[in-house]
Structures are given as C-alpha cells and as structure tokens.
Subunit: 408 residues, 2 copies
C-alpha cells in the first residue's frame, strides 16, 4: 500500500478530473456517451500507459468506490419502484438467463481449451456479473433511463449483482477447498435477496417520516448530507448483511425518491456526483493493462485467442439472455446489449482468481481483455440501437440526475 502525501493526492485528483472532463467532451464530440471517454482517459492514465493513476492506492480506491455508491444512489433516486416491479418478471428472466448462459458457455469453452476445472469455473463466473454502473450511466447519457427496456436492464443488473455475489461466495469457498453445500448456497441467496426486500419494506415506513422531521431543521445542506448518510449507511449495512454495497445505495435512492426532499437531495447529490463519479470510471479504465494485448508479442497469442473466445461468449450469451422474457413487448436487443458490459465486477472476480492462484497470468489477461472489450463496446452499441431521445436538445431540467451522468 503506497503512502500518499496531501499534495500528491491533490495532484492526482486534478489529473483524474481533468482527464475525465477532456475524455468525456471528446467522446461527446464524436457522438459517443461521455462515460466511454472517461474509461479511455482512465486507460491512458493507468499504469500501462502514462502511469499517473494507480487505482490500487487505497485513497484513490476508496474515493472511486464512493463514486459508484453515489452513482447507484443517484440512479435509485431516479427510479420509480412501481415501474421497476412492473417489469420485475422480465428482469428476473433476463438475470437468470444472463447468469446461466454465460457461465455454462464460458466453462465449456475453457474446458475445450484444456483448462483445469477450477480455472474454468472461475472464468465462467467472471462472465456472469453485468456492471450496472456502466449501463445505467450510458442509458442516462442517452436520456433513456425511464424507458421500459431500461427498467428491465436496471432490474436485471441489480438482481445480477446479487447473484454475482452469491457465485463469488461459492467460488471463493471452492478455491479455499471448502465443501459447498446446497444449504449454504440457499442461505447466502436468502440473505442477499432478503436484505433488499427488508430494507425497502422497513425503509418505506421509517424514511419518509424521518426526512419530514429533518425538513423542519432549518439549516442548509441538511437534506443532502442526511441523504448521503442514508446511502452510505445502507451500503455499509448491505455489506454487513452479506449483500452488496451498491444494492444498499440503490435501495437508499429508491426510498428517498418518494420523500418531499427528493428534489433538493437530487440537486445536492448531482454536485457530489460530478466530483466522485468520474473518479470511479477513470479508476476502472486505469485498471486495464494494455500490454498483454500486444499481438506482436507471441507470448500474448494464447491470451488473445482465449480472450477472443471469451468475448464472443460474453457478448452472445448476454445478448441471448435479453430474449429470455419472450412476453416482454419492447426492443429485446436493447436489453441484451445493455447487459453486456462486465466492468469492475468482472475485474474483482479476475483479481481474486489471480491472487488465489486459480487463474494464471494468461487466463487473467484473457479475462481482463473480455471485461475491457465488453465494457467498451456496449456504449456505442447501445447508442446505435437506442438513440438519444432528444438529440441536440438541452435537457429539460439542468440540475437533474440525467446531467450527473451525462457530464463529460
């Protein structure tokens, strides 16, 4: 863990924020979602190119995580629970198919390529979890967050994150040589889903009166800071309860969306998001090591071949999962494409696999390549399938969440 002085920290933040602004503005100039520009800017700042940003440094890592927590909180604030539940069946179908298909196909491909059982399981697992942050951000960039297709994707990505967490628990158990019982898996599953339901039910009784009370405190900034405390607090609680941080933050947003302070909170959280959210996307980009993709180095050929196969599996399987809710009337292709980016969740899996020795450097490189390509192709694909609703028009409400996420 590298020690960081205050001036160095300030310098790194200036570089990260500046690169995010520049990358976002350039992406927008060529008609792409700004998040793509932030990711590319992050790759340039990372260890394998300029070496200016190391996302593994604790302070940077923690700020980036605040960014994804605040992003999911902001997305939750924009989410209408009734709307989300209305497409709940479709979301669940997409999520289940989007876990089973990639895992099975990824495992199969790895076994055919002659990899050991545990490595194939790990690689299959990295293919399962969609990065809700990237897709949500792109849908917001396009002003499409309220469409039914987006709601299905959002719901599926959240369920998917919970399922990913369960798989992670199981896989970690396997790598440690522990025996995994169906009862244990069922318990992990129950806790993860039970947390979300319990929070939403309990919270809908507790949170609105709490914020009505807080509304009487005549002090500026109170609502936003209380909202941030709720988001961080539920994120912490979600983790303690065996669920995922971002599930807690998302639940906090959904709960606050129905309070009278929702608009004030949204304005404040948007400003905080302008600061924190780009730090997350820059960090995701900076974690990519571009050196393992050099095709001129023959040592990389096996990695590139395996990576290519994993990319094909990753894209095809999630795209197919989009068609699982056969009854859903809407653009199913949008749903499938929205589920493609694997982002940080896949990288966490891959890093755990590398650290535990289950994945060797080559397989790790292949998984990284898959994560990177799926993350980078989804924004332009989504934009092509699902063009921005009011192209060229300024957003109706310049201080809403849409702008948090469309900021370059």
């Amino acid at each position: 863990m590298e020690h960081m002085s205050v001036p160095h920290f300030l310098g790194v933040l200036v570089v990260m924020l500046g690169a995010a602004k520049l990358g976002g503005a350039l992406a927008k100039a060529v008609g792409q979602p700004s998040v793509l520009g932030e990711l590319v800017a992050g790759v340039f700042l990372g260890a394998s190119v300029l070496g200016l940003v190391d996302p593994k440094v604790e302070a940077i890592h923690l700020l980036a995580e605040l960014g994804v927590v605040i992003l999911l909180f902001a997305i939750g604030l924009e989410t209408d629970l009734t709307k989300l539940l209305k497409v709940g069946g479709a979301s669940a179908a997409v999520a289940v198919a989007g876990v089973v298909l990639p895992f099975a196909m990824g495992y199969g491909v790895c076994r055919v390529m002659g990899l050991p059982n545990l490595a194939a399981i790990m690689a299959g697992a990295t293919l399962t979890a969609t990065s809700v942050g990237i897709t949500a951000r792109v849908l917001s960039d396009l002003g499409r967050l309220q469409e039914p297709e987006s709601q299905v994707v959002l719901g599926a990505a959240v369920i998917d994150d919970i399922v990913g967490l369960i798989i992670l628990t199981v896989v970690v158990g396997l790598t440690r040589g522990e025996s995994v019982t169906p009862g244990g898996v069922a318990m992990t599953t129950g806790i993860a889903f039970g947390f979300l339901v319990a929070i939403l039910v309990l919270g809908s009784f507790v949170v609105p009166p709490l914020f009505r009370l807080a509304g009487r405190i005549d002090l500026p900034g109170t609502a936003t800071i209380l909202a941030v405390m709720l988001a961080f607090g539920l994120a912490w609680l979600a983790d303690r309860a065996g669920s995922a941080l971002i599930i807690g933050a998302f639940a906090a947003g959904i709960l606050l969306a129905r309070t009278p302070q929702a608009h004030e909170v949204e304005k404040g959280v948007t400003v905080l998001g302008h600061f924190f959210v780009p730090l997350f996307f820059i960090s995701v980009g900076a974690a990519v090591d571009v050196r393992v993709f050099n095709p001129l180095d023959s040592a990389n050929h096996q990695t590139l071949l395996l990576g290519g196969l994993l990319i094909a599996v990753a894209v095809a399987s999630k795209f197919a999962a989009g068609y699982a809710p056969f009854w859903f009337k809407g653009k199913k292709s949008v749903i499938g494409v929205g589920m493609i980016p694997r982002g940080e969740v896949g990288l966490i899996f891959a890093q755990m696999g590398l650290a535990s020795g289950v994945l060797d450097a080559g397989l790790f490189g292949a998984v990284t390549l898959m994560v990177m390509v799926t993350t980078f192709i989804a924004p332009p694909l989504l934009k092509a399938l699902f063009p921005a609703k009011h192209p060229g028009q300024p957003p109706a409400e310049p201080e809403g969440i849409e702008n948090l996420v469309s900021m370059p």
Copy 2:
C-alpha cells in the same frame, strides 16, 4: 498505516457526518457557532474517548485535508481582494506582532521552567501560527466575514500561515542539526510570499478568460469541477513552490471571485463543502487526547502547569497583537481574539517536535492542551465580542458560502 475496507470507510464517514450534524445543531441550540459543536463531537469520536475515528488513518486524513482546502477556497471566493488589500497594512502589523510576541513569550516561559533551548524554541514556534480555518468558519457562522475586522483577521491569518511555514522550515533545520543562515531564511521567505503575489498577478490575467472559454462548454457541472481543479491545482503548486497548500486554495478562490461563473461555482463548492468541511473539524477534534488532562493523575501535573502557562501566553500575546495596527479604526479586541485559535497548524508543529524527540511527552501534552483550549475558547469569545449580525433571521441567500460554514 491502517488498511481500510470500503464498508468500514463508509461506516466511518456516516459516523463523522452524523456527529458533525448533531454537534453543530446542539452548539447552535445553546447559541454557539456550529464549528464548536463539530470540534467537541470530534473529541468524542477520537481515540481517547469512543475510539471511532482515527484522524491519522490515511484516507480520513486526506479527506479532512480536502475539507480545509475546500473551506479556504470557499472563503477565497467570498473575499474581495481590494477590500483585503485596503486593510493590508493592518493585517501585516497583526501578523508580525502575532508571531514575534507569542514566540518570545513562549520561549521565555519555557526557559524559566527549565526546559532545554531547542525544546523552548519548538514550543515557542507552536504558539505562532493561527488556524485560519477555525476563525474564518466562526466569522462566517456569525455572518461577519465582510466586516473590516474580519478582513484584517483573515489577511493576518494568511500572512501568519506563510510565516508559520518559514518558522517550521527553520525549526526543522535546527532539529536536524543543520546550520540556519540568514540567507536561507530570506530565500524561504521570498518563495513563500512571492508565490502568493505571482499567482494573484498571473492568475488575474489567465483565469477570467479561461473561465469565459469554459463557460461556452454547455455541460452541467463543468464550472464547479474546473473550479475545484483550479483550487486543488494551485494548492499543489503552492506546496511545490515551498508555500502552503491552503494559500494556493485561498488564491484560487480570490481569482475566481471575479469571474462570471463565481455564483455557480459558489453553489457547487458549497455542496462539496457540506460534505468535506465537517470531516476536517471532526478530525481536528479527534486528534485531541483528553487523557493527559486528568488532574487526578499526578503524572499530569507538570503538563497541566506548563499547559496553563502556555495558554496564558497564547491568549495574551495574540490578543495584544490585535492592537498592533494602532491606526486601525475598528474593534481591535475582535482582531486579537480572532487570532487566538491555533488548531491544526499548532498540532502539526507539536507532532513534528514529538517525532524528532525535541518535545517529550509532557511538553507535547502541554502544547496539545494549549492548542485545544485556544481553539475551543475562540468561538464563544468571538461570538460574545462580535454578535451575529442578524440574530434569528434566516440568511438572505440560502445557497451562499455563509451557509457552508454555518451548517451544523
């Protein structure tokens, strides 16, 4: 350096923000500036009472420093350079007297108490630097930031910070056994003051056109993030140039105060400040170890006696310095009292002294006691001498900087 997990980090932030809110609201309820409540809340959270917040953990330390950088930036945004320069002579007189008197008196008292020469120099040095953050925050809490007295205090505290930096450089040289030449001291002085002048002169040509240009980028949040980048960037540059971080942040605020985006930037920075600034004051409070002040433990008697003497010197010398600009027409008592709090700067000196072995645990405890008492008595004293301008009335503009600093 303790490693921190993301959930733990979120939990600590919730505790810090919640304690700051609660402490600030309670202080306000008993008619005190809310910053006092935040400091007391910090003491409760610190290692010596509840042990929930360790301000030495890197991530907490870095966020707290972002808080003081953002606070000084916000104060700079509220500062009219012409007004500040108008009272420049008075500020300089207060600053010089406010360094010479405390140092001479502190050194004298320590020598009389039988302390070695180097320890007496170090203790004298800790008495010199006023904590501009605390005074500025209190003056803002009282809605008095624009008064001539406040401008004198602000100017003096900034000069004082630069002088404190020079003294620190010299003292560090002495503790390392280096020879300190008048030429070296003159150079340090020249760099420190030269930086501020150079930045203000160069910046007044470069910054307004830059922000006019940036104003054409039609993307929400851009102005605030560019402003934050300027503040962090100049803070970094100030440090590299041998000046102080907060001088750079303050200069950035002064420069931006004259751009057309000043109002938008102020709103955004206020929201960021609501999040970051309390983390700084909680951290200052949490650094206090209350155990060394237990009068029932006879081991603490020497510390308490020496601490009492240092407090008397600290209060009397800065109060007297307030009368140095004899030509200034205004409440000179307010100026003197405004210069009393030593805060984090004094603690930095003391910690360096302890680490280098120049201060023993007893003298360190006495210095900590002095820092704590001066920090805690200034807010109520200032409020008594300089009552809030519109008591009981809501602020005219609820989104201005005044509210950043009056937030509980």
